[in-house]
């Protein structure tokens, strides 16, 4: 069973790993991912970003079909890996010791 709309079958290989609805899940996945895995996701979503927006923006936010919602979750994972790929060259922020910051409240998507 596929998670994403048909026209995004090229992104389907990322769906099982990265369609994560909450920030704590995306943060945890980032920590356990290699830079190569994150770069692949980053490049794939980056190149389809306009098509993704054109697709998801057709639906009201409070009435999204499941596949569109999955596509948004995949895109928020792209957002999560943008610093590791563009800036840190890895999942961790240098010199942050064991500082933590838990996302306690997120609007539902």
């Amino acid at each position: 069973m596929t998670k994403l709309p048909d026209q995004f079958s090229d992104l389907e290989p990322f769906a099982a790993t990265w369609c994560l609805p909450t920030e704590p899940e995306r943060w945890a996945r980032r920590q356990e991912s290699s830079i190569d895995e994150m770069r692949q996701l980053y490049e794939a979503v980056f190149s389809r970003y306009e098509a993704i927006l054109a697709y998801v923006d057709r639906f009201p936010l409070d009435d999204m079909p499941e596949e569109a919602r999955n596509l948004i979750h995949l895109t928020t994972s792209f957002v999560m890996v943008s610093f590791p790929v563009e800036v840190w060259n890895g999942p961790r922020i240098p010199d942050t010791g064991h500082a933590t910051l838990e996302r306690a409240i997120s609007p539902a998507v």
Binding site: V79, M80, S82, F83, E86, T96, L101, I105, S106, P107
Partner: protein
């Protein structure tokens, strides 16, 4: 070369002569004795922000707030008349904590028609009145009217709910905020309801964290890697266009980088793609397009994009020029630890692209905040040795100077009273 003019006295620090220019003692940030004094001298006397009115959407909505520094828990409710009330979260029968879920030390929230004690079942209305005593006839002439919940002073400004644990507050909330702070009340807080909340347990004194937010002298060094190589606006260091101090409160403006005006090679590619990042979503909400809140720019600089107001003692409101804001809050738990709460408030997204720009903002700020957290914990580690207690502060650290002086004054004044 200075990018922004300084006051006639030559510096922001000298503009406020009481601050002095000598080294500043940080003994207030690592000694248990000072922390013990702060409990009474500061946190039981001041108005403390505990939440937003949107958290109490309807009659019966409630949340609890754990205030370790005052050794208390408070329950805040909206009663059937729509009035917001606060009570000590303690049952009048034998002192059980009244409102909690599963873990008594953790905060909770919900909607309820009444508050029922988990121990012997006494009940209280949303107005705090005791409405039911289990096996009432077993008691000795008990008058329920005398056993209502103990109220805590509670008031609202601009949709922010404050409490005051003093027996009689020394000032009204509005008086205590003063004109500099209340001048931002026209910011459309009530329409910026899409909230992202972060929470962190920080191994550092609460004032060190406030320092880390109210000076940006560190930003070009600590946060240098977050910007592309070509972005050199910070190469010359940080200068604020305006600092202002009023009573125990303080504010500053940042120059306000406008990423939407920068060339491609000075912006993270993903930030340009989603039109959002460290400086917020690029596209303001429709209702905000022409909003001007003069109080955000008390120095009259038109181009400043950001204003941080540090409201004594532990609450910060940071306003951005494109219609979103965030708040910082510091809840001390010991002389070298506190809970840091960070809430970002946006307009409800119009469509998915707004949502993604908000998410990019929340994610970007977290990258910075973890760096700040970590450094502040590092400072605590070394300060704790007591080997060095006095430090020189520069003019871009004028607000840190003011914070430590204010803490010291409040403690001294309290001791003198006693």
């Amino acid at each position: 070369m200075a990018r922004f003019p300084k006051p006639a006295e030559g510096s922001w620090t000298e503009h406020y002569p009481g601050l002095g220019t000598g080294p500043v003692s940080y003994a207030d940030s690592f000694t248990p004795e000072f922390f013990e004094l702060e409990r009474e001298a500061i946190f039981r006397r001041t108005w403390l922000h505990v939440g937003r009115v949107e958290q109490l959407a309807r009659a019966g909505s409630y949340f609890t707030k754990e205030i370790a520094v005052a050794r208390t828990s408070v329950v805040v409710v909206r009663d059937t008349d729509g009035k917001v009330r606060a009570f000590h979260n303690i049952c009048r029968h034998r002192g059980n904590k009244l409102v909690w879920t599963d873990f008594p030390q953790q905060e909770t929230s919900g909607v309820s028609r009444q508050m029922v004690c988990k121990y012997h079942g006494w009940r209280y209305g949303l107005d705090g009145a005791c409405t039911f005593v289990q096996q009432e006839s077993e008691f000795f002439d008990i008058d329920r009217a005398e056993y209502g919940l103990v109220p805590v002073h509670c008031d609202i400004w601009a949709g922010f709910i404050f409490i005051n644990l003093g027996r009689v507050p020394e000032q009204s909330l509005r008086e205590s905020l003063g004109p500099m702070v209340t001048a931002i009340e026209d910011y459309p807080f009530e329409r910026l309801t899409h909230r992202y909340g972060f929470r962190s347990s920080v191994a550092a004194n609460w004032k060190l964290m406030v320092d880390g937010l109210q000076e940006q002298y560190h930003a070009p060094i600590v946060h240098r890697n977050q910007r592309p190589e070509n972005f050199d606006a910070h190469a010359a260091g940080f200068e604020a266009p305006h600092y202002q101090i009023e009573g125990p409160h303080r504010m500053f403006n940042s120059p306000g980088i406008r990423p939407w005006e920068l060339p491609d090679d000075q912006i993270k590619p993903s930030e340009r793609l989603v039109r959002g990042g460290l400086f917020g979503p690029w596209d303001p909400p429709d209702f905000f397009a022409d909003t001007q809140v003069a109080g955000m720019r008390p120095g009259g600089h038109e181009r400043v994009g950001v204003a941080l107001f540090e409201i004594w003692p532990n609450f910060g409101i940071q306003l951005w020029e494109r219609g979103w804001y965030h708040t910082y809050q510091h809840w001390p738990t010991s002389h070298d630890s506190h809970i840091f709460e960070w809430n970002m408030y946006f307009a409800p997204p119009r469509h998915a692209s707004d949502l993604i720009a908000q998410e990019m903002t929340a994610v970007s700020l977290k990258e910075f905040a973890l760096q700040d957290d970590s450094l502040i914990e590092t400072i605590q580690l070394t300060l704790g040795s007591g080997g060095l207690t006095e430090f020189p502060l520069g003019d871009q650290e004028v607000l840190c100077r003011h914070l430590h002086k204010t803490a010291d004054e409040w403690i001294t004044e309290f001791k003198n009273r006693a």
